[in-house]
Symmetry: C2
Subunit: 136 residues, 2 copies
């Protein structure tokens, strides 16, 4: 159910530029090192974001625990706020902190639409100053 | 005389990780937007770097003025220090601020090896706190 995130990443990069963030996608091939890279890095001189992008036509997303570990490591080192940016079909982007996710019995992560709506933030919140506001 | 910078970019990304910077190359295809992207972004939670990479087997490098304009725009917006990272063959990386470059009669930029050595900084300086120290 999870589609290729490439178009989604491009759309999100454009949205971030519209919010006056300079944003860049990771290279397709993982780049120079074995180091984990987020899908998108963005900054506006004050706030720095590292975003792992997920898209789905369903109402649930699974995320490999290695991806989350990598996102946290990169963000900590780079100096960025780690987010999972989720695009459920027909909905706006929702952004979650790694700590918002739920663990599966196999120790990966799961995110259901209702949890995403409850815990997530929208693009205005993650790019603005009122970052603690919740989506609803 | 200027070689494809791809291998150089990868080498520099590795060096930055060794200096405890999380570093990422720009995507090969320019990515999602027409926005100018630096070749490398890196950060360590304190210092953020946007780097345009140049390699040469000669002793002089020319840089298109549009590249420098783009580097400055991205860096200003993202919140990063703009550098031109230059690899002259058989020498270590030298990093220059856009203001260190000299303008050509055609209003592009030129950098000669002797000027680079005089005005440039090494990787320790741009990744450390003593960033005002000069290369020699």
């Amino acid at each position: 159910m999870v589609r290729d995130g490439s178009r989604g990443e491009r759309d999100l990069v454009k949205l971030l530029w519209e919010k006056d963030f300079a944003a860049m996608r990771a290279p397709a091939s993982g780049g120079a090192t074995k180091k984990p890279l987020p899908d998108i890095i963005a900054g506006n001189g004050e706030i720095y974001l590292a975003i792992e992008v997920k898209m789905t036509s369903g109402e649930r997303i699974y995320i490999d625990s290695g991806k989350i570990k990598g996102l946290l490591e990169f963000s900590e080192m780079f100096g960025a706020e780690p987010y999972i940016g989720v695009k459920f079909r027909y909905r706006d982007w929702i952004f979650l902190s790694p700590s918002d996710l739920e663990m599966t019995p196999s120790e990966n992560y799961r995110l259901d639409l209702d949890i995403a709506l409850e815990r997530g933030r929208d693009i205005h919140e993650i790019t603005g100053r009122e970052r603690q506001t919740r989506l609803r």
